[in-house]
Amino acid sequence: MKKYMLDLIIKENKQLSDQYSLLILTSPEKLPEILPGQFAEVRVDGSATTFLRRPISIHYVDYELNELWLLIQVVGDGTKKMAEIEEGKSLNMLIPLGNSFSTPSNIDSKVLLVGGGCGVAPLLYLGAHLKKIGFEVNFLLGARSKADLLQLCEYERLGNVFTTTEDGSYGEHGFVTQHSVLNSSNFDYIYTCGPTPMMKAVANYALKTSANCEVSLENTMACGIGACLCCVTDTIEGHVCVCTEGPVFNITKLKWEI
């Protein structure tokens, strides 16, 4: 897929909380084709401590409104600047980067999308894509507390939403992998994105239940386009770049101890 360097304009910055912002970006030109699971390398201006671009998942693309959504969690200076950006300003990004989640070939497959924290971001676009094709989409979303469960109504619009919170303030109490739906249903395809321990637990569940499982990995990235080899992960084929061979990997490819 052809990659672009684009200056997208902030149409709206919904500060969901101190820690999270939803950026709705647009462009005078038609947005390029973007697949679910792909990401952008975003340039952060005006931060003395942010030198490199920051990889951010595509949260959602609305081709009718020509909108691209990013969900930002503030963890350091770079994400802070992004989360505070004012409407009308622009963000420079390389897009679309990386591979994408795959689509089950059998339309009757039961699919589950498991997200934790800000890892829920790419699952919205994936869910929308799967729904459009005809799948019944199930989301299992976990967070520390109710305040960290983001964009719930967006997910609810697309399918069934199961939730857990670590403090029990919303949904079932505990971790996603403890949710009762995992005992009561069987899934053919599981897609997951979130903290590594969570993804490993999900992968473990998938292995046990013989579900197909794809995880979206993070890594420290410099270029985002396969040029620097800074972002490798260990696979059965050796070191491969998360930014080009990933971020989505089938767990059978990874050398994870799970």
Binding site: Y4, F51, R53, C223, A227, T233, G238
Partner: protein
């Protein structure tokens, strides 16, 4: 419109702006963003005699105005390059130069010998300065004796333009430059990365899997510029300057300090089209200052 053509020994460049090894892949990674044949030259990834998996991750840490990397020369080996990559890139209308690394002198010789026969590889860059692999690289570049030795041996087998890439992790870089010049290097390029380290204080752990890594980016520019200045005064062969170049002004500074051409490394990550902007900026500088040719600014610093 000034003339941007310039030569490094026998190597003819359409302009003095090239991209640095390890930061520009094989060039094609960037072709979505621009016409890469506009660049004066592309230094491809560090290539070794056998395939290398490189270092474990994490391999990268951001630092103030710079970054540390510990890639460790991951590549599929010179034969894979010759059989699978070279055919894909040999038609790019610019100088494709292979960066050659090794753990032993024999590795360097063998690799160089194989590249000697590729018609569209007009030069190799001998990397005797990689700080990220234990068994070699930088060790060669930090004493005159070992630097001279590897260059001497490679010179024997390699007939095209031989560029030697120097390590900045030394007391006196001019000395090393003189030593490799004496053994037949056609030109030198500098600097490779400076050995650095990053720690995560909260976790009390090094950030890189290898503890230390190579520092690049604008943070190192003042050091690189000083070394290019020193080496350009010392040697007669052309000097290729690099280290922290982010824009045309930076590139011009290196040329004023004595570099015949420059390479852009880390800046490609920030702006994939930076090399084109630097070419245009140099052109604009020549016009504004009334220079006919980019050759006129090489070493033109008034001191």
């Amino acid at each position: 419109m000034g003339n941007l053509n310039i030569n490094i020994g026998k190597l003819q460049l359409k302009n003095p702006v090239m991209t640095a090894s390890g930061t520009f892949g094989y060039g094609t990674e960037y072709s979505d963003f621009m016409d890469i044949s506009r660049i004066g030259g592309i230094f491809v990834k560090g290539t070794t005699i056998r395939e290398r998996q490189g270092n474990p991750y994490p391999r990268m840490a951001e630092t103030p105005s710079g970054m540390l990397n510990a890639v460790g020369l991951q590549n599929k080996g010179v034969d894979y390059f010759i059989n699978h990559i070279y055919p894909e890139i040999k038609h790019i209308d610019t100088n494709i130069i292979v960066n050659v690394s090794g753990s032993t002198i024999e590795d360097y010789i063998e690799t160089a010998e194989k590249l000697n026969y590729l018609e569209n590889i007009p030069a190799i860059e001998l990397n005797i300065s990689c700080p990220n692999v234990k068994e070699g690289g930088m060790a060669f570049g930090t004493t005159c004796l070992s630097a001279a030795q590897v260059v001497k041996e490679v010179r024997r087998v390699y007939k095209n333009e031989l560029i030697v890439k120097l390590s900045p992790n030394v007391t006196d870089i001019s000395e090393i430059a003189l030593a490799v010049e004496a053994e037949g290097a056609d030109s030198v390029s500098l600097i490779n990365t400076l050995l650095g380290m990053a720690i995560n204080a909260e976790k009390r752990k090094p950030i890189l899997s290898t503890i230390t890594g190579g520092l690049s980016g604008p943070a190192v520019k003042p050091i690189a510029l000083r070394m290019v200045w020193q080496v350009a005064q010392a040697v007669k062969i052309p000097v290729i300057g690099l280290g922290g170049i982010m824009n045309a002004a930076d590139a011009i500074e290196f040329m004023l300090a004595g570099a015949t051409a420059i390479q852009i490394g880390t800046a490609n990550f920030i702006d994939p089209t930076v090399s084109i902007k630097v070419i245009e900026g140099i052109n604009d500088y020549l016009d504004r200052h009334g220079f006919q040719s980019v050759r006129d600014i090489v070493g033109a610093l008034e001191v």
